[in-house]
Symmetry: C2
Amino acid sequence: MLREFDGRTFRETFTRAGFDDYPEATQAVRDILAEVNQRGDEAVLEYTRKFDGVELETLLVSEEEFAAAEEAVDPEVRQSLVEAAENIRDFHRRQVQNSWLEHQADGVALGQRVTAVEKAGAYVPGGGAAYPSSVLMTVIPARVAGVEKVVLVTPPQAGGEINPYTLVAAKIAGADAVYKCGGAQAVAALAYGTETVPKVDKIVGPGNLYVTLAKREVSGMVGIDMLAGPSEVLVVADASARADFVAADLLSQAEHDVMAASYCVTTSARLALDLQKELKRQCAQLERCDVARESLQQQGALVIVDSLDEALEIVNELAPEHLELQLSEPWEALGKVKNAGAVFVGPYTPEPVGDYWAGPNHVLPTAGAGRFSSVLSVDDFVKKTSVIYYSPQALLKSAQKIEGLARVEGLTAHGQAVKIRREYLEEKGSGN
Amino acid sequence: MLREFDGRTFRETFTRAGFDDYPEATQAVRDILAEVNQRGDEAVLEYTRKFDGVELETLLVSEEEFAAAEEAVDPEVRQSLVEAAENIRDFHRRQVQNSWLEHQADGVALGQRVTAVEKAGAYVPGGGAAYPSSVLMTVIPARVAGVEKVVLVTPPQAGGEINPYTLVAAKIAGADAVYKCGGAQAVAALAYGTETVPKVDKIVGPGNLYVTLAKREVSGMVGIDMLAGPSEVLVVADASARADFVAADLLSQAEHDVMAASYCVTTSARLALDLQKELKRQCAQLERCDVARESLQQQGALVIVDSLDEALEIVNELAPEHLELQLSEPWEALGKVKNAGAVFVGPYTPEPVGDYWAGPNHVLPTAGAGRFSSVLSVDDFVKKTSVIYYSPQALLKSAQKIEGLARVEGLTAHGQAVKIRREYLEEKGSGN
C-alpha cells in the first residue's frame, strides 16, 4: 500500500506544500477576518450558518448544556479523561519557569520576569468529530501557566450542540467558557473580540487549513502557537520491529485524513515486505479504511535505507511531528535526533499513548516546523521581561564606555541620557 | 513639545497601526520574496542595486574587509564592544535550559529535549547607520544556544562596504559569515537560501517595515523572532523624578526615527511642567534634533494621572517595549507590571544601559506584542521535543483507558495500535 523508496530518491522526491500555495483560501480567510472585525457576533453567526449549516441564537455554551453533557457521557471514559488530565497537569507543571533577579556586588541587578498572558483562546476541531483530548492539551497548559481567562472555541454539530465529551473535557481542564464557532470566523472572534467572545492575547490549538491560515493572518497582532498542517508520523524500524505494530501505528496516523502522512524508514527489507502485507490486512478491518488507504497511497512512504544513521538523517530533514523509534537500541538513536515534535521510544509506546494519555502535549509542529518550533507547552502562555537596575556607582563606572558605543551608532541622545547622569553624579561627587 | 493627556483621554485616543495597514508594501514584499526564491543571488544583487544604490560583485564580506575593519575602528570602542559582549554572554547563559528525562517507578519515562536550531540568520540594519550593538544582541544568544551556523545580513553603505564597527562586532560575537544585503531581499535570501546565502531555520533581528513584513510572510516556513515596529519608551515618573533625566530618556527614544514613540506617564503636574521645558532645552542641543522633535510632537505623549496604579494600568495596556520606572519605590511598582519588553528600574538606569551594555537583550516586542511575546533570548534559538517511553507493563496498565478515549474520538485505528500490543502481551502473559 505504501510507495517504496530508497533513502536518496525519497529525499529528492519529498516536498512540502507551503502556505502560499493557497491564494484563494487565504483571500477567503482575509474577507472573513475583516467581516468579523467589523460586525462581531453577527458575522460569526452568519458564517456558522453558512459553513456549519447551523442556525444559532447565541455562541456561548450554557450551564444547562454542560449539565446535559455530564449526563450523556460514559462514566468510565469520563474517569479516563480525569486521569489523563492529571497526567497532562503533572507533566506541564515541570515546564513552569521561575522569574529570577540577581543583585550583584557592583550595584547592578539583572533579572528575567516570567509572567502569564492575561487571556488565551484554544481552538478545538469539532463538527462531525470530537476531540476531548485536544481540549485537555490546550486548556491545561494555559491553566498551569497561570492565564487568568482561558476560553475554548469549537464548531457545533449539525444540531447546534457541542459533543458532550468536548464539554466535559472543558470542565475537567478548567476552561472558563466554550463558544460554538469554528473555522476562520472563530479565530477572528478571538483575535478581535466580539460582543460575546473575548479578545485574547494568545490563540492556540490545531485546526483545518482555514483555521491555520487565519492564525497566520492575525499572528503578530495576537500571539499564536504554531501553523499546524496535516498530521505526520515517521516510524524508524529495524529488524527487531514487529510489522503488525508498525502497520497499526501508520494506520492510526493515516485514518486522520487523506492528507495525513505516514512514513516508515527501515533498515530491514524483510520488515518492509511484511509491513505491506500487514497494512493491507489491518486496513480492511478499520472503520475509516477508505480514508486510511488513500492517505497511505497518496502521502505515505516506505523508505528502505542502508543504515540507521541514514534513517536519522532523513528524520532530521523531515522534522516529523511524531517520531517512533522501534529499534533494538532506541535510546542510542534518540541522541542523534535533532528535529522532531515528539519522540515515542520503543515498541510499546505507540503514538496514541502520547495523543491521549502520557502527559506530554499532542499539539506538535508539523510540515518541518520542528526544525525551529516546539511542542505546545507552558512556555506558549508566558512571556519574559528583562529587568535592569544600575546604582549611581554602577552607572558611573560604565558611563563613558556606554557613551562611546552610542557615539559610533550616531545616536547622540542615547549618549546624552547617560552623560547627563554622569555629570550630575560627578558634580555631586557621589562617584568618589 | 509633548501633547498632554489625562489617563482616560490617552487610553481612548491611543491606537496602533496594524500590519494590515500596509497593503502596497505587503504586495511589494511578496514580489521580492518570489523573485529571490526563483532567481537567488541574481535577484538579491538586483534589489541591492535598486534599493541600496550599490553595485556588488558578491554578497559575502571577505576576510580582507574584516581585517580592514579591525584597522579602522577606535580601539577603546572596540574594547567596550568586547566588554559588552561579555555582559551579554553572561546574561544569556543564565537562560540556557537543560533537557530532562525522568524514569518513573511504573515503567514510564517522560522527558523534554532542548536542542538548538541548526542554522540562524540575524538581520542588522545598516546603510547610513551602524548598529554593532544589534550584532552582539542577535548573534550571541544564538551562539550561547549552540546554533551550528550563525550568519548576519546587513545592507551595505553607499560605497558597497559595511560599517567597520558592524564587522568587528560580528567577529566579537562569533558570526560565521556576513552578507551585504538588506530589506525584504535579505529576509528572502535567508528564508529560501541562494547560491551564496544559506537557508536558515530561524531569522531574528529588527528591521524597517519591509523587513518586518517579509519576516511575517516567511513565518511558518522558517521561524522568526517577532514582528518589530517602531521603538517605544514609556517612563513612569513621580515627584521624585528629575525632569532633566526623564527628558533625556524620551529624547533618546525620539531620535531613532519620526515614528518612534516616547511616553511619560506621571503623577506629578510639577514634573510635567518642567519636563516640557527640559525637552525644548535639550532637544536644541541634539544632532538629530529635527527627527526627535517631530517624533515627540507626532507620536509622543505626556500623560498626567491621579495615581501610580492608574499609571501601571496604562503600562499594562500598552505593553511598552521599554519601561522606565523613575519612582521613589520602583521595585514595588515592578510587581504590578504585567506587560513590558524590558524594565529599567530607578533613576540611574536609562534605556541606553540596556541598549548597549548591561547584558539583557535589546531586541524587544513592540506595538503591544509584549502582551504575548518575549524579549529575544536563548529560547528563540532552541526547540523542545517531548520524549515518551512506556514499558510493556506500563502500556498494559493503561491500554484499555487509552482505547476508550480513542473510541469516543471515533479513531478506531488509534485504539487498534494500543489493542494489538495489549492482546500480544496478554497472550504472552507478560502482563502478569
